[in-house]
């Protein structure tokens, strides 16, 4: 293969890195105070919270499924975290969320694998159920924690680095390890590529599906606990608008929604890319509606770029 073709091929698979470099250069030119210590720290903190949710849903996306219920799960867990903090103290916040995420993850996983309901439809239903649970538990409005130390979890710094960033990076490394170096990872890719063939090859696709949805719920629960600690409040409507941007970040990062393609580095870059755009828009003082327009155009633009590079890839392969 000629050098140019090799480059284009690499580009088509890894368009997000290319996009990321462009946006970083743009930020230097346009953003007044983008490359300041304070702003970069802020950017990383934002990326971490979104990123934790994105890690979970990447597993589900790699299988070729979706999970529309992660947003309301984050809300629900933020409410649960606050309730736990009031009754059992600070230490129970994260623990209670993690334990209860087993239930929500199982619900999604079982409905998709054993009952064979289409994931999009299942998670539309569980989305409403989780939002309902959040509202009922919270009594119809956000609940504030009476515990004064509730902020301590989010503001804790390990060796000077905010805990949310540390947790995100740890999760990222563990997730990447799971995907690259374990049999589980290979099986996830196999299922994502072709579910039928994977089943025929002897992989227990039901188990893989359930585990992925459990992971997605686990990540949503951690994010929910963090949000609860950050605000000191459990909000039943917090995550309503998080689902689609998180999924969009992953898709922008290169996770193919048909499954089987993508990895966690790309997820990270996708989330970072979206957050940089939000950050730049906040700095430029864009009108709320101009922001919506920009986000829409960016999403479409990235999808186009993907499609174009995919075409190039196909042409290259055809020429082989």
């Amino acid at each position: 293969m000629k050098k140019k073709q090799k480059l284009l091929l690499w580009l088509s698979d890894n368009s997000i890195f290319f996009l990321l470099s462009i946006i970083l250069v743009l930020a230097a030119l346009v953003g007044k105070s983008f490359y300041t210590k304070a702003n970069l720290m802020l950017l990383l903190k934002e990326t971490s919270l979104y990123g934790i949710i994105a890690i979970g849903i990447t597993f589900v996306l790699l299988l070729g499924f979706t999970d529309m219920s992660i947003g309301p799960q984050v809300s629900m867990f933020s409410v649960i975290a606050i309730l736990a903090s009031q009754r059992f103290g600070l230490a129970s916040m994260v623990l209670s969320c993690v334990l209860l995420s087993i239930i929500s993850g199982l619900l999604n996983g079982l409905l998709v694998s054993k009952v064979h309901v289409v994931p999009f439809i299942t998670t539309l239903g569980t989305m409403t159920v989780f939002k309902g649970i959040a509202l009922i538990l919270a009594g119809g409005k956000p609940i504030a924690s009476s515990l004064l130390t509730v902020y301590d979890i989010y503001t804790y710094e390990l060796l000077g680095v905010p805990i949310s960033i540390v947790v995100f990076l740890i999760f990222l490394i563990i997730a990447a390890y799971l995907l690259y170096f374990t049999k589980f990872g290979l099986q996830v890719y196999a299922c994502g590529g072709n579910l039928e063939s994977a089943k025929a090859a002897g992989i227990n696709t039901d188990r893989i599906t359930i585990i992925c949805y459990l992971l997605s719920a686990f990540c949503a629960s951690c994010a929910g606990a963090f949000y609860a600690s950050r605000m000191g409040v459990g909000s039943p409507v917090l995550g309503d608008n998080y689902t689609l941007p998180v999924i969009a970040s992953c898709v922008i990062g290169g996770i193919r929604s048909t499954g089987g393609k993508g990895n966690f580095v790309k997820t990270f870059c996708g989330v970072l890319f979206m957050q940089i755009i939000y950050n730049l828009m906040a700095m430029s003082g864009f009108d709320a509606y101009t922001q919506y327009f920009v986000i829409g155009v960016v999403i479409l633009g990235v999808l186009f770029l993907d499609k174009y590079t995919e075409k190039v890839q196909k042409i290259n392969l055809a020429q082989e």
Partner: protein
Amino acid sequence: MKKFLALVLSFILLLSLLASCSGKGETPVTKNSSSTVAAKDGKKTIAYITPDSRSPFPVKYSSAWKEECSKRDWEAVILDGAGDAAKQLSLIESLVAQKVDMICVTPIDSTAIGSGLKIAYDAGIPTMTVNADCDEAFHKYTIGYIGTPNFTFGYRSGECMAEALGNKPDKNIIICSLHDGFQASMDIVDGFKQAIKDKCGNVNYLDEQPGKSDKAISQALMEDWIVKYGDKIDAVFGADDTVAVGCINALKANNMLGKVIVVGAGGDGDGLPAIKNGEMYGTTYQSAAAEVSLVFENIELYFAGKPLQKEEEWKMELPIITKDNVDGYEPAY
């Protein structure tokens, strides 16, 4: 394997970079100091974080904000919280990083905003809550609050309703509130109920459902309520004029307007004509422009090192509008 190692190494590098970056905050702001970093060009940058930009009132508030800033040759930075309390926190942090001169915010959640106010306080940037306040516990981080609590807003409408009902108890009232899960919405309803309790005594609330600031939804709700409760309904409270007018439409279609008393809140372009026509009994007027103007008066005081106006000094009221005085008012939005 190589890729993975590269990933781990770059993360370790990143972590060490961040660790070296952390520094302590600068001296916190004191009530009368104006020792903030001057904005570029010597112009002051006054930032405002809205709660949401899809309802008309915050939109009016933002445009009034821009006007007041340009009057004083200041720069306005307006960011949208889009209904997300966590986003408002991120926006405060972003503004702190940009080193603006003043951050004003209408909190979506009075408790959640606290950690953001603290961050701005620690960084030496003065903050002020407007149109809705933060919790008592966080007042130490702000220079003050200007505005009327949603509770009071609802209370005024409650007073109006009580007057219409002749201050008598045992009436049947239906409440069409705003949104599920938002504090502002709950506060308005709580204020209304308190006023009714104070003036009328015990009443019977037949039902309470969110109209979601959407005429179509509130109209559908009212139609269902009419079917369910019919003649039992004495009065309807719409937590904003849009919702109240939605209810009025349904009542009109069922010829119940003469019998049922409707009170709204806000004084917008839907509500005032309805009062003129006698379809709605009254509403509470909330002028964005008047409030913003008061806010900027106080910002000027702050920068001049003077203390802010006390609540009694505010020349801003929440008038109750009924048929008697409706002609003297322009729609608030």
